[in-house]
């Protein structure tokens, strides 16, 4: 093991701190972009005139095979 300094191992140190900064910046940039997209989609949904109370999450229930069969029985 050699006592090393900034010159000899600066690359590694820079790569480590640089990767950290880069990844975090990348994540924040991506999240900003994602939020902007979500905002656009929400505004578009509002403009499309869908009723604000009718939430897709509330009403929708993925039908399973058995419930589909039951539905078929009652139809």
């Amino acid at each position: 093991m050699n006592a090393s300094g900034w010159l000899t191992h600066g690359v590694f140190i820079a790569a480590a701190f640089g990767a950290c900064a880069l990844l975090m910046a990348l994540e924040l940039w991506w999240l900003r972009r994602d939020t902007a997209q979500a905002v656009d989609e929400a505004i578009a949904a509002g403009a499309a005139g869908v009723s604000p109370v009718r939430s897709a999450v509330l009403v929708q229930r993925t039908p399973t095979a058995s419930t589909e069969r039951a539905q078929g029985d009652r139809a």
């Binding site: 093991m1 300094g5 900034w6 000899t8 590694f12 140190i13 480590a16 924040l28 939430s55 993925t62």
Partner: protein, 268 residues
């Protein structure tokens, strides 16, 4: 004769379920507002703490007798490793709340934490390799800690993949949540077994855990960086949850008005 679809055997529970849903509906706008307020503070805190940590780590902390300057990588490696484990714990905690109390928002928090946790894990592995090469001569060491980090990365990726591959959001939340719980119980077992495996095989006579003996400046530097990473992770998770909320609730009135507010504010 009604031809409307009614859930099998669930008539008695729909009223309770509906009230639960309304309860849940009541929380998101408040949570959204809270997140919106918190994010800039967390980011500012992260910046300040990070600057302080970097100052301590890169300037104040003394040169190590054995490893020279390269040891300074621990100021990223160790905080990232700590955060990777802390975030997994937090993720499992939120998942448990979401599972047990049927709280959708809690499950969304768990999902929002996962990518940041995976990033921290990757960063720990990457910086570990960068530390290992000049110090020990190899890019990868089958060190107990590093190997456990690698497995933790796979646990994160499995969680994200499982959640992403299930179409129904409710089932995705619950299935991934159960996986997170199974993972968190397994993590000590995995860590123990990897330690066991490592010592018995005596492969690596060197260990990345044998960091230079901690001067107090080094410790405070690592602590500052860890707190900075923590504040950053909270900000990132809150940002992710906000976007998720906007998407899932885009038909709700509050979401649309929030979106309009956001759009107005982001315009220069």
């Amino acid at each position: 004769m009604s031809t409307t679809f009614k859930p099998l055997d669930r008539d008695a529970s729909t009223d309770a379920a509906r009230s639960r849903r309304w309860l849940w509906l009541a929380a998101p706008p408040r949570f959204f507002a809270l997140a919106t307020a918190l994010i800039p503070w967390c980011l500012a805190l992260a910046a300040v703490l990070g600057a302080a940590g970097l100052w301590v780590g890169l300037w104040l902390a003394p040169t190590d007798a054995q490893q020279g300057e390269v040891y300074r990588i621990i100021f990223v490696h160790v905080p990232a490793a700590w955060m990777s484990m802390l975030i997994y714990l937090a993720m499992a905690g939120w998942a448990a709340i979401g599972l047990i109390f049927q709280a959708r928002l809690a499950s969304m928090m768990a999902r929002a934490l996962a990518p940041t946790g995976a990033l921290m894990t990757f960063l720990a592995l990457f910086t570990g390799a960068l530390w290992g090469q000049p110090t020990w001569g190899t890019w990868w060491v089958w060190d107990a800690r590093l190997t456990s980090e690698l497995l933790l990365l796979f646990l994160y990726l499995g969680f994200i993949a499982l959640h992403g591959s299930i179409e129904d959001p409710r089932r995705a939340d619950r299935a991934a949540g159960l996986l997170a719980l199974a993972g968190v119980i397994n993590v000590p077992i995995i860590y123990f077994s990897v330690q066991w495996w490592n010592t018995l095989h005596q492969g690596a006579s060197v260990s990345l855990t044998r960091a230079p003996s901690m001067a107090s400046t080094m410790l405070s530097g690592m602590l500052l960086m860890a707190l900075a990473f923590w504040a950053y992770s909270i900000a990132a998770a809150l940002m992710r949850v906000r976007a998720q909320l906007l998407r899932r609730e885009q038909h709700a009135a509050w979401a649309q008005s929030a979106a309009h507010t956001q759009a107005r504010e982001s315009q220069p």
